[in-house]
């Protein structure tokens, strides 16, 4: 079956005709042409497909597109605001927190969700926050560092 769903995607109200049996991940990539959300393991192990559902990180490969009806979705494409990179994106670049880059969108979405809930995470909390995201290049040290640095930048920017 197909249905019409209405939801907010990266800040904009959208109305789309979707197949019942399509995952959010495939819907974003194939129908919305938002290929920043990566298709990795497709069973919730790797986190490459992480997006925000109502502000919290979830694996889009474990969600049906039809479930988005009435909700708010943010993908990596919605993180940059008015042409300015988000502090997480800047810190990932500055700290060399990526090599091949495949895990990066998912990492950033998990980190964003973590910092939304907990603006001052400890290193352990950062590691717990990205425990559902696999990176096979970096060894995680630089990623953890970049998220910690972004938290500090965000705090400074909020105070300014």
């Amino acid at each position: 079956m197909k249905r019409i769903i209405r939801f907010k995607l990266n800040g904009e109200e959208v109305e789309e005709y979707v197949q019942d049996s399509i995952t959010m991940c495939d819907f974003l990539r194939k129908q919305m042409h938002l290929s920043g959300t990566k298709r990795g393991c497709e069973e919730g192990e790797c986190g490459a497909c992480t997006i925000l559902l109502d502000g919290g990180a979830i694996d889009s490969c474990l969600m049906l597109a039809a479930e988005a009806d009435g909700h708010e979705i943010v993908t990596i494409e919605g993180v940059m605001k008015d042409g300015v990179l988000h502090p997480l994106q800047r810190e990932f670049m500055d700290k060399w927190a990526l090599q091949c880059g495949f895990c990066t969108p998912g990492m950033i979405m998990s980190a964003l969700s973590l910092l939304n809930e907990n603006p001052h995470p400890t290193e352990l909390e950062i590691r717990d926050g990205i425990a559902g995201n696999l990176c096979r290049c970096t060894g995680y040290a630089k990623i953890v560092e970049a998220i910690g640095a972004a938290a500090e930048v965000m705090e400074r920017e909020a105070r300014a």
Partner: protein, 293 residues
């Protein structure tokens, strides 16, 4: 890996979901968070499913309440993430918050539910052991009347529960009795990784002290049988006795003797049984240390 074709019905009420389930029978499956169901559908492990009944739009299923003198009521749609982070759960029954936190990753816990974790009925499900040790009960809705099922009767086999599909039976709530003064509980998961891993074994304990002696206790073991198991022999040794290191060792040995582990890719049966001995001791110790004054 695409999903097989199916119809998704976002039910608006328990009655709608239950009636539809009775009508479609074995061709349908209920879905709350979907973190277990979607991989099963992708892998074609759910044969002949043409309808997925979504429960997410049934408002009364999302709740997390604590009633003094009774305990915690967890709705079927309440996310593991909410349970893990609830100040109420952390204060009143920290072992339950800990068990919820042990499940998979934060992405999965933001979508997955405790009701789904037990309904999927994996023998190593992280929340099953603590619910068994704390004597939880499962409330259901079904055509012709729902039931309250003691958690000890809920699991009937690997991935099998006593829920009656022909009656469209749906888990609506999990109730956990409150910890009274002199009672404590704990859950330990033994896994290779700290997250995103299945338990090699898990052990949960609930202990009630009567003066210096154990008044009552329950020990539950996960990943060492076709369902989560109670360690009745170990419990018998502890009841009425004073806790000593020797007694804890005896209880651990008893528990390891009454579990039925298999050898697989994660660990050998011998290793699992020995870890049950170790973690039984640790769970009892932690239950005593975190006991309510």
């Amino acid at each position: 890996m695409s999903l097989p074709d199916f119809d998704f019905v976002a039910a608006k009420s328990l009655k709608e979901a239950s009636d539809l389930a009775r009508e479609r029978g074995n061709r349908c499956v209920f879905m709350a968070g979907g973190t277990d169901i979607i991989p099963l559908l992708k892998d074609n492990l759910l044969k002949g499913i043409d309808t997925v009944i979504g429960l997410e739009c049934i408002p009364e299923l999302d709740k997390l309440e604590f009633a003094d003198g009774e305990g915690l009521r967890i709705g079927a749609l309440t996310k593991l993430h909410s349970i893990q982070n609830s100040p109420l759960v952390k204060e009143k029954m920290p072992a339950v918050a800990q068990a919820a936190h042990y499940v998979a990753s934060s992405q999965i816990r933001r979508k997955g539910t405790m009701a789904g974790n037990i309904s999927n009925a994996s023998p190593s499900a992280d929340t099953a052991s603590i619910l068994l040790a704390m004597n939880a009960s499962v409330k259901t809705y079904a055509s012709g009347g729902g039931r309250t099922i003691p958690i000890g009767n809920f699991f009937t086999g690997v991935k099998k529960t006593c829920l009656e599909k022909d009656k469209g039976e749906i888990v609506t709530e999990i109730d956990i009795p409150e910890l009274k003064p002199g009672e404590g509980s704990a859950y330990y998961k033994h896994a290779v990784r700290k997250a995103m891993d299945l338990a090699i074994i898990g052990v949960a304990a609930w202990v009630k002290m009567a003066g210096r002696k154990v008044g009552d206790c329950r020990i539950a073991m996960g990943g060492v049988g076709v369902t989560p198991l109670r360690a009745f022999n170990a419990e018998k040794l502890l009841k009425g006795a004073e806790i000593t290191d020797e007694l804890l060792e005896e209880a651990g040995v008893a528990a390891s003797g009454e579990c039925h582990p298999i050898s697989d890719v994660r660990a050998s049966a011998e290793y699992r049984a020995d870890m049950v001995r170790v973690y039984t001791k640790r769970a009892i110790k932690t239950a005593l240390e975190t006991m309510k004054a």
